[in-house]
């Protein structure tokens, strides 16, 4: 076959080694991905922001006229900074504690700080309301039993304050910081710390002189991620802020979607500062860490276990688990079994009727199924798409550079845009031609793909980098074609990483609340959005039931993903 090629005049276009198959076809394939993903990701944002700037920016004038807009912006900034600072502190401290865990509890103890991730933010916040409402929060009531506080009629804590929104958001975000910093610590190995210990440094001194400086890339990366999440934070301000007149930009945006006709220009104007801040954070991350470091690469862990261990570290992690997961879940369980949310702990009146009424309600059950189905469909598209994009990012020479840069950009952009803003943009884009899919389940699938394509790409990129190119080269050298290499070599090798990506994506999508609430229609609901509806128009016991169903389905989903991806994949998360 190749002999003809050499003998013919001109360029070799055809055949396996020809230009068409080798150069043109792949570029067209990648270009297609860039165009489709680019449309999904960029179009809504561009469309929306255009609305903010037409008519000489009158939308910004309207924004300036909003009551208390100054307070809203200030609250947004405070919330973003304080909660991400708290998350970084707590997450890093937890990771350090995890590194000090005694061997006997190490395995569970390292996973424990991830458990809050299985409790969706809506559920956690609801649980916290039951615990910390100033007068009837269970925790508050118990604290008031203490001799020092017995004189109080309410409190000592009031969850409906900026302080507590910051605290709760910070706690919710600290798990993410833990993931990155913990991985960083693991990769660092123990030799450097051991060396410092051999020089006579105490654990605390080691922490500040050796560990933290070395972890700087991980911490900077994590700080950027949680700052973006904190700025787009929506759940806690929405559920906690309203009762005491606390608004942030995202909740203002959400209020807009409740008024007909929706003032998209105003929403775009409200989202503009968030968008700009998002870009700045991503650029700073890029500058601070350099191209490579943005990707946290998992490598083999050290063979030696020369750590000095501390039992109090297990205590810290246990306390964290108790506070972030166990207590809210207990409160939810109790309320779900109570006839109504009451400020008393009377075990005699417990009932399962709210569980029955939720499970008998076709709207709610449908929403659960819609959530599962749309998440699973989205994941089925996201995994191969993200895998392809991650693969493209790894190809240094064979992909036309602008295409590779475009893919990199598309994998980064969704991370810079908070879900609530993205949801608002998607609502705008998909309620009108050319793609009018509002009101169908398709809009949820498209929304989920748009939100998660960045995560899917980044996580699988990490897997691919860790897997190494040489296994693929070995396959090619052994005569394996593209398909054989992919199916028999690359995919089996990446199975755990893909399983972990699928599990994490499922958790994030099933818990997705901010964007879902924006793009849902009355008849296409997901569990997060119906939960909000029950919240605003039903009995809180049913909210608790739904929250617990969310937790249960999450656990089952993660277990299935782990079963597919192998038990190691949980660690990869």
């Amino acid at each position: 076959m190749s002999a003809e090629n050499t003998s013919s005049k001109g360029l070799a276009w055809w055949g396996a080694g020809g230009l068409l198959r080798r150069q043109v076809a792949p570029q067209i394939g990648w270009l297609l991905i860039v165009i489709v993903v680019g449309f999904a990701v960029v179009w809504p944002i561009v469309q929306l922001q255009y609305r903010a700037f037409i008519d000489g920016g009158s939308a910004f004038t309207r924004m300036g006229e909003l009551p208390r807009i100054g307070d809203t912006v200030r609250t947004t900034v405070i919330l973003a900074f304080m909660s991400s600072a708290l998350a970084v502190l707590v997450g890093t401290f937890l990771a350090w504690c995890a590194s000090l865990l005694p061997r006997r509890v190490q395995k569970f103890g390292e996973l424990a700080p991830l458990l809050p991730l299985i409790v969706p933010a809506v559920a956690a916040v609801t649980g916290w309301i039951f615990l910390l409402s100033p007068k009837v929060g269970y925790l508050n009531m118990m604290l008031r039993q203490l001799p020092l506080l017995s004189g109080l009629e309410e409190g000592p804590f009031d969850i409906y304050t900026v302080k507590w929104i910051v605290l709760i958001t910070g706690m919710l975000l600290s798990s993410f910081v833990y993931v990155f910093v913990h991985t960083g610590l693991k990769n660092m190995g123990q030799e450097l710390e051991a060396a410092a210990a051999a020089c006579g440094a105490s654990p605390v001194r080691i922490l500040f002189t050796v560990t933290l400086p070395l972890l700087r890339p991980s911490i900077i990366f994590a700080a950027g991620v949680v700052f973006l999440l904190g700025m787009g934070q929506f759940t806690a301000p929405l559920l906690l802020g309203r009762t005491s007149r606390i608004d942030v930009l995202t909740t203002e945006m959400f209020h807009l979607t409740l008024r007909y006709p929706i003032d998209y220009g105003l929403g775009a104007a409200l989202g503009f500062p968030i968008l700009i801040a998002g870009f700045i954070v991503v650029m700073l991350q890029k500058l601070a860490l350099g191209e490579q470091r943005r990707y946290v690469v998992v490598s083999a862990r050290s063979k030696y276990d020369a750590r000095s261990t501390r039992w109090w570290a297990a205590g810290v992690i246990g306390l964290y688990l108790l506070v972030t997961t166990v207590l809210p879940l207990l409160a939810l369980t109790y309320v779900s079994l109570s006839p109504f949310w009451s400020g008393s702990l009377v075990m005699t009146e417990l009932t399962t009727r709210h569980w029955k009424s939720v499970l008998d309600n076709p709207v709610l059950v449908n929403a659960v199924w819609t959530s599962i189905k749309t998440s699973v469909i989205a994941i089925a598209i996201l995994i191969p798409l993200g895998f392809g994009m991650a693969f493209a990012l790894l190809q240094s020479t064979r992909i036309f550079k602008p295409i590779r840069m475009a893919i990199d950009f598309l994998a980064t952009l969704p991370m810079a845009v908070p879900a609530s803003l993205m949801g608002f943009g998607l609502l705008f884009a998909y309620t009108r031609p050319p793609i009018q899919i509002y009101g169908t389940a398709a809009v949820l699938v498209v929304t989920y793909i748009t939100l998660m394509i960045g995560h899917s790409t980044r996580l699988q990129f990490t897997t691919l980098v860790a897997t190494g190119q040489e296994f693929l080269e070995a396959s090619k050298a052994c005569g394996g074609g593209a398909l054989r290499s992919l199916l028999q070599i690359l995919l089996p090798l990446c199975r755990k990483g893909i399983g972990a990506t699928a599990a994490l994506t499922f958790v994030l999508l099933f818990h997705e609340f901010s964007a879902s609430l924006m793009v849902r229609s009355a008849r296409t609901q997901v569990i997060g959005s119906v939960m909000y509806d029950v919240w605003t128009g039903g009995v809180y016991s049913e909210v608790a039931v739904l929250a617990l169903i969310m937790v249960l389905v999450t656990v089952i989903g993660v277990m299935i993903a782990v079963w597919i991806g192998g038990s190691e994949s949980l660690k990869k998360i």
């Binding site: 309410e154 007909y260 009451s342 509806d533």
Partner: protein, 346 residues
């Protein structure tokens, strides 16, 4: 598989359009007096063929569930899908469905009367043609197609465990010093709330809202979250409430009670069949059911509200309720008031 139906809504559209055309033609060409029953039978037959009706309603879940159960019993051949939400929220969704050509609500019930009137003037609401419409009091059919399906008085509510003797009976009582910090009220979740705050100022004095604000009330997104907090004891008194929202909790044994203040304000639930509906006949049938004696008994026979009909046992008489005048609150006024209210309360 159900996803596919919603993803590809256009599939059954042609068939539907034909059916609608057929019934409209039949109605138009038939001699009116003789065949009113005949043409209604045609509607019923077409509705059966449509097989389903979608109701969006701002009524509390319990009320909605009663209506749904009753309708299922009366028309077992027609499936009913019910979506509940706060008035403003579902109104936005309906508006988006209209502009986006999305298959959504067939019948819509909400307190946003003016929205219905505007749509009716545009000819975007179905004319109720069922037998019940013929006898419905004219006062409660506006623009020929906006039906007042029920009326409710606004109430003051309190927690019986926290407020023993001397419960509040009027809006003036909201300003009692002992209620400071223990009071709850609603945000401007719908136009009704705007009218109510406006009415409070007019009846209780110009500085009433300032004084109410000074009581440092907790704000809730509508009456349901307020009801939950009241039942839990987070607040002792709620200035804003409607009976249906509290009935659910009272049925569960929650320690809440309501009082009808005098003077007091009430509101109407407006109902309309949406002209862009994919199931117009089923919509007409559902509307007819809501207006029937059975429907109205399901609605207000529990004593939660009033019926325009006079033959509903257990209902509050409609005449006792002064409903707010929605026509006095067009969008410009609403937006202005929103800013004014936020200035005081936020």
């Amino acid at each position: 598989m159900k996803q596919l139906d919603t993803i590809l809504p256009g599939l059954g559209r042609f068939a539907l359009a034909t059916a609608v055309l057929a019934t409209t033609l039949t109605a138009a060409f038939a001699p009116s007096s003789v065949s009113a029953q005949q043409s209604w039978n045609n509607v019923l037959a077409a509705a059966k063929k449509e097989g389903k009706v979608v109701l969006y309603s701002a009524t509390p879940p319990s009320l909605g569930n009663r209506l749904v159960a009753g309708f299922k019993k009366a028309y077992p051949d027609i499936d009913i899908e019910f979506t509940r939400g706060p008035s403003g929220e579902i109104l936005t969704k309906v508006g988006q469905e209209q502009s986006g050509g999305v298959d959504g609500a067939d019948v819509f019930i909400s307190t946003e009367l003016e929205w219905f009137r505007a749509r009716a003037k545009e000819g975007k609401l179905l004319k109720p043609v069922g037998p019940e419409a013929a006898t419905w009091p004219a006062k409660y059919i506006r623009e020929g197609s906006v039906i007042t399906a029920g009326l409710e008085p606004l109430t003051i509510v309190y927690n019986t465990k926290l407020i023993g003797a001397n419960p509040p009976t009027s809006y003036a009582d909201m300003l009692r010093p002992e209620y400071k910090g223990r009071l709850g009220t609603s945000e401007l979740a719908s136009t009704l709330l705007i009218a109510w705050y406006d009415w409070l100022e007019k009846t209780q004095g110009k500085d009433y809202l300032q004084k109410l604000r000074a009581q440092n009330p907790k704000l809730y997104n509508g009456t349901t979250p307020l009801a939950q907090s009241l039942a839990a004891g987070e607040i002792a008194v709620g200035a804003f409430g409607n009976i249906t929202a509290f009935k659910t909790l009272m049925d569960q044994g929650a320690p809440v009670k309501y009082v009808l203040p005098n003077p007091g304000l009430g509101f109407e639930y407006a109902m309309g069949g949406l002209a862009w509906s994919r199931r117009p006949n089923a919509a007409l049938v559902l509307m007819d059911y809501v207006m029937s004696k059975a429907g109205q008994t399901a609605w207000s026979g529990t004593g939660e509200g009033a019926s325009p009909r006079t033959d509903v046992p257990g209902a509050i008489p409609a005449a006792a309720i002064t409903a707010w005048d929605s026509s006095a609150y067009p969008p410009e006024v609403v937006n202005k008031y929103r800013a004014y209210w936020s200035g005081i309360f936020k």
